[in-house]
Symmetry: C2
């Protein structure tokens, strides 16, 4: 339990701070990505160095470079996970310094969501097409992924490994009774990665890909630089979970909003459709919002009342968030 580095080895690493900057705009979930330079290069997450001599905390460092580089001032920030696998970085494999990234999610309001130079807002489901259940079960699941996952299962070395693979797939993709669990974004991405079904797979050559160029991006989503899609999967899963017991959704909403807008934002992140009447009942019962007295007549039908977040709810409820069907057995 000592901390002395083994003599003769270099223990130093370089820390990067990677940011998943997310919002919901026009009912679409969006994430900020840095456009690739080269022709076949992949977009990447905005990222900045951690400065051990200047930044008192990592979160401070993150806010600093996000502000410097994008001009965006982010509100809600949460640390996600620290990514340090060897194969995430080809340079380290080649003998360079080991690169470690601390991933963060940052949420930003629609109105503030201008487009910084060199980067673009991407629809989240361009990266994870199988995660969008707002219009029912995505076709890609049955038509593409399920059969390919089945082959991957069958290719396992022995019966035991096969069972293990099948079990993982059942749980992650809800092929069994459990049904689809929206929070398991990372498990799904990791399975697809291991099965060679996403374009990132081949970084370290350990796993052979089963992609062919034609269907690739349309079906299995836009590949990103290094392991950035894994970081995004972590972020989406975390947000989906958190939305249920913390009022994070309001971090992406404008100050005033209609209940339908709120519902659409929740649906955009969770990827699941919600029952309108029940949604408003739950939101009201939970005390999450209060009417502002104003109305919005942008929608065409009867004008909707405008609401705003009621911060006091956190003092009244132990776990204030958007209540949602828990065990939806949608297969």
């Amino acid at each position: 339990m000592n901390k002395k580095p083994k003599s003769g080895t270099n223990q130093a690493v370089v820390l990067d701070l990677d940011a998943v900057i997310a919002t919901v705009d026009a009912e679409k979930p969006q994430v900020l990505l840095v456009s690739a330079d080269g022709s076949d290069a992949r977009p990447s997450l905005p990222s900045g160095p951690f400065d051990p001599e200047g930044d008192r905390t990592m979160e401070e460092g993150l806010r600093r470079w996000v502000e410097e580089q994008t001009g965006l001032t982010v509100g809600f920030v949460e640390q996600l996970y620290t990514f340090g696998d060897l194969f995430r970085d080809p340079d380290a494999l080649a003998g360079g310094p080991r690169s470690i990234s601390v991933g963060y999610v940052a949420l930003i309001r629609q109105s503030a969501a201008k487009r910084p130079a060199g980067s673009d807002w991407f629809d989240w489901y361009r990266l994870f097409p199988w995660e969008d259940w707002r219009n029912g079960r995505p076709a890609v699941l049955n038509e593409v992924l399920k059969p390919k996952i089945s082959s991957w299962i069958d290719e396992a070395d022995n019966a035991k490994a096969k069972r293990a693979r099948r079990g993982r797939a059942d749980v992650a993709f809800g092929f069994s009774d459990a049904g689809w669990d929206a929070d398991r974004v990372l498990e799904r991405y990791e399975l697809l990665y291991e099965a060679g079904l996403v374009a990132e797979t081949v970084i370290d050559g350990r796993i052979k890909t089963r992609q062919n160029q034609s269907d690739a991006h349309a079906w299995t989503g836009l590949p990103l630089h290094q392991d950035h899609r894994r970081i995004l999967a972590t972020a989406l899963g975390r947000l989906r979970g958190k939305i249920r017991y913390r009022p994070v959704i309001f971090e992406v909403m404008p100050i005033e909003f209609t209940l339908l807008q709120l519902q659409r934002a929740v649906e955009a992140l969770t990827g699941a459709p919600l029952h309108k009447q029940n949604f408003r009942r739950l939101v009201a019962a939970e005390g999450l919002v209060e009417p502002t007295g104003r109305v919005s007549s942008e929608t065409g039908g009867r004008p909707a009342e405008l609401f705003s977040f009621r911060p006091d709810v956190v003092r009244e409820r132990p776990a204030p968030g958007v209540r949602m069907p828990r065990g939806r057995r949608t297969k």
Copy 2:
């Protein structure tokens, strides 16, 4: 959005892997701490270096040194958080290399819980006395913490800051309608830290302590090395949350157990008492366990049936875990 280090500064940091190794033994939640050497020194979390040249992944590195140093083989391992605040490490303030720790929780079964040399199992609630509600609201809350927190609130510079402090305290400690939220372990510890109510407060001298030596450890818990208690608070909060939707509790149970033992283990971690009949009904309804056919007559009364974890539950339920009263308004 480039990653090039600023020239002239040293960007390298040293990564440690800190492990919260936890179990539940004889209905008591336990955590492994390394005994302090000096007389007034504080216990610390077991910790090992991350070896960028040897460890393919950080988790692998963690398992490696835990095995090497303690002889324990841990099962469930989950990354918690990466701690990098400047003031966590006095050496860095003095100009040494910046130290960053990646915290992990590892769970281990009771039976495997021998005592490695140089370390000891500590009851979790020796460190967080206010977190143990198994026998009702802990006395320390009203008798010690509440008044001291009140003074801290009153000492705020202006009315706005005062309101902010009160709001935080209300939420964290459930002084308002929301009641006690068992998951907010970290929020509570951080508030106590800022209020100078735990002995660790003074590391960087920014905040004055309001501890006096006599009541210190009995009331506000055993202080640990550096920010290790913060890491533990993170771990406890995370486990308490996770227990509800993932079958993690079985990672600390023996292979066979009675339903009451299971209940006691859950209570030990969540810190809340549960209704016995409902607990067993929920556990059964959730399909978490299956009878082994054997019975245990260690208890004195009617022998209890022995159960074991039913792994298939993860295929049947989207979020299998121990159902618990959600909004318990226990003030």
